[in-house]
């Protein structure tokens, strides 16, 4: 369906069509991650891409599971998901109340499952760089002060509200028109495990005690709050499923 929409998009103003299709067109640019990953300090290039306006819902993921029974929780091979996969749903093909309601973000999905979903609809997971780029562009567009951004994130880390998630896109879509990048659930990205690789002796896979300073360009709260997101993401395993981890898909422009 979305593949079709992307193809059709060529004949219409891109931004308008993307929005109707539930995606936002994000202009690329030169950009550097908000953590210090390289000694060289070269900036990276982000190409234009499209991103889902909101996170994938239980309802949408249920459609996917129905069409692809090999991703039912009772059929998905163990190599692709841990024991908690979709365990909050009342049944393998049934939604329910609260976090299992159709309009809530789907959680307890592994990286493998998230990728399979995006591939099925003609997309892919955003790269870590794309996701972080969108996050920063959104902050700029909304003129969120670093202190407010940090407070919101630290609040979410301590009290993620995982027992009672809001529906996706509860508020108005302002800024870039993207909902819930922060404050609802964290999102899978394609290369989630790639951070903190800074060489032979110092790369302990995920960083260790006291490693924070090497990766922060500034010691303010906002950079710490961002770093914790990188840190948490890189500590997941591809089979990990939790109540605070969902995803949205990205697409290449035609």
């Amino acid at each position: 369906m979305r593949t079709l929409l992307i193809t059709l998009m060529l004949s219409l103003p891109i931004a308008v069509f993307a929005e109707e299709a539930g995606m936002v067109y994000i202009d690329g640019g030169d950009w550097e991650l908000p953590i210090v990953r390289e000694d060289t300090g070269q900036s990276g290039r982000v190409e234009d891409f499209l991103l889902d306006v909101h996170q994938v819902t239980n309802a949408a993921f249920l459609d996917f599971v129905r069409a692809n029974p090999e991703w039912r929780r009772d059929q998905a091979p163990g190599i692709f998901r841990d024991a908690g996969y979709l365990s909050h749903w009342p049944s393998a093909e049934g939604l329910g109340e609260g976090n299992a309601a159709p309009d809530r973000p789907v959680t307890r999905v592994s990286w493998y499952a998230a990728r399979a979903y995006c591939r099925e609809i003609g997309g892919r997971l955003p790269s870590m760089t794309e996701w972080e780029y969108a996050s920063e562009r959104q902050r700029q567009a909304l003129e969120i002060a670093p202190q407010d951004y940090a407070s919101q994130l630290f609040s979410w880390y301590a009290n993620p509200g995982a027992g009672d998630l809001r529906p996706v896109a509860s508020g108005p879509a302002d800024g870039l028109g993207i909902h819930d990048l922060h404050g609802l659930v964290l999102e899978w990205v394609e290369d989630f495990q790639l951070i903190l690789g800074r060489g032979d002796d110092i790369d302990l896979l995920t960083g260790s005690c006291g490693d924070t300073a090497r990766f922060l360009p500034e010691f303010d709260e906002a950079h710490y709050a961002t770093f914790l997101r990188f840190q948490s993401r890189s500590n997941y395993q591809p089979v990990t499923t939790t109540s605070t981890l969902g995803f949205r898909c990205a697409y290449d422009p035609e």
Binding site: D82, A83, G84, A150, S151, Q152, F154, S155, W156, Y157, A158, N159, P160, G161, A162, G163, L204, L205, T206, G207, S208, C209, G210, D211, T212, F219, E221, Y224, A225, F227, L228, Q231, S232, N235, Y236, Q237, T240, T241, T242, S243, T244, L245
Partner: protein, 382 residues
């Protein structure tokens, strides 16, 4: 190769049943282990796996809630099968001030583990931060820890859900940290071994970055490794208590009711509370007890995460102090013992007379933030 060279727990457990009189070679359990100066190194690699476990989050007979310390009721050395799961828990640290803590076992500080120099610990930890775990209802099996928390639920422990990657770092273990202390995601379990090579009062904590946040959130506790031959005053000690000092950095949360970690304050070392045993009233509501003329022994750990403790008992002098809890480091007649973050000590004092004795961090800015407690002394027993 993490998966297939799993430590043979059965062997280790069987070994634990044999107590005392072991030759050096018998103490080496796994291939690759070796001894230097009677200390065991080269332990097997940690095993990370998933398990279907929803039992007690703390398992082991020698795990207690502060200020209790388990009695070592066995001779010689043994192997301890110890579990401390990571769970999120709403914790009160001062009247009306609660926050969602990240914990080992559900309290802050976590359970105190007591072992003997030379003992082996087979440690299991599941990251259950994604699961509401109740510790204030009766628990089948598990550890004495639960009964003690339930008898004095000063932190008003309530289950919470706050999924995060976590790890466990025992200062009492001598191992490769990148293996044994590795971080595991929610839902995963890690199992590793360590041998209590050196006696002491040790800290354990989560070492996952930002380590400041993880420790300030409540992930720490004490391990007491008693010396093989004991301390010289062991047979004169009437009461033993464990004290863990730590700072909290809390601010009102703008988005939810209650309090949350304040990173700016933590970086500025400006705590909102400094406590003994995790609550400003822990040692006031339930004061330590002794009688005039008795010898009281304190096992004191300063968990930090960033502050020092100048530990003092008003009206008493420490008769003996074993710094870091090592019998070789004996001091006499100490008024105050300075403990940096993660330093510990064993302190004996004689209760002078009936009355009330305040225990304080003599850095008064910390005492004013809550680092104080009381020992109530009854009359001399005849």
């Amino acid at each position: 190769m993490k998966l297939f060279k799993s430590p043979t727990i059965a062997t280790a457990l069987a070994f634990g049943l044999i107590s005392g009189g072991l030759s050096a070679d018998d103490r080496l359990v796994h291939d690759g282990e070796f001894m230097v100066d009677g200390k065991i190194f080269g332990l097997p690699e940690a095993r990370v796996y998933t398990e279907d476990y929803s039992g007690p989050p703390v398992v082991g007979d020698y795990l207690t809630a502060v200020p209790h310390l388990a009695e070592l009721d066995y001779e010689g050395n043994r192997t301890h099968d110890v579990r401390m799961d990571v769970i999120s828990q709403q914790i009160e640290v001062a009247p009306g001030k609660s926050y969602n803590a990240w914990t080992f076992g559900g309290s802050v500080p976590g359970p105190t583990l007591h072992v003997r120099e030379g003992d082996r610990v087979v440690f299991t930890m599941k990251n259950r931060s994604d699961e509401p775990v109740v510790i204030t209802e009766p628990v089948n099996g598990g550890s004495p820890f639960f009964g003690q928390v339930q008898a004095n639920p000063i932190q008003k422990n309530q289950p919470a859900v706050s999924p995060m990657p976590h790890s466990m770092d025992f200062h009492s273990g001598t191992v490769a940290a990148n293996d044994k202390w590795q971080t595991i995601p929610p839902g995963a379990t890690i199992e590793f071994e360590w041998v209590a090579n050196y006696p002491g009062v040790y800290m354990y904590h989560c070492g996952t970055p930002s380590v400041l946040m993880h420790t300030a959130q409540g992930q720490y506790g004490a391990v007491v490794v008693s010396p093989k031959e004991g301390f010289p005053t062991d047979d004169q000690v009437d009461h033993e208590y464990v004290l863990v000092q730590s700072e909290f950095y809390l601010t009102e949360d703008e988005y939810t009711e209650g309090y949350r970690y304040d990173h700016e304050a933590a970086m500025a070392r400006d705590p909102s509370q400094v406590t003994f045993n995790g609550h400003v009233n822990a040692l006031h509501d339930a004061p330590l007890r002794a009688n005039a003329g008795e010898r009281v022994r304190l096992y004191v750990l300063n968990a930090g995460p960033s502050g020092t403790s100048s530990f003092h008992v008003i009206g008493a002098i420490f008769d003996r102090v074993w710094y870091e809890g090592n019998v070789e480091n004996e001091w006499h007649g100490m008024q105050t013992v300075l403990l940096g973050a993660s330093n510990g000590a064993v302190m004996d004092f004689i209760v002078p007379e009936e009355g009330s004795y305040k225990l304080v961090d003599h850095e008064f800015a910390d005492a004013e933030r809550g680092a104080a407690g009381t020992l109530v002394a009854g009359p001399r027993k005849q």
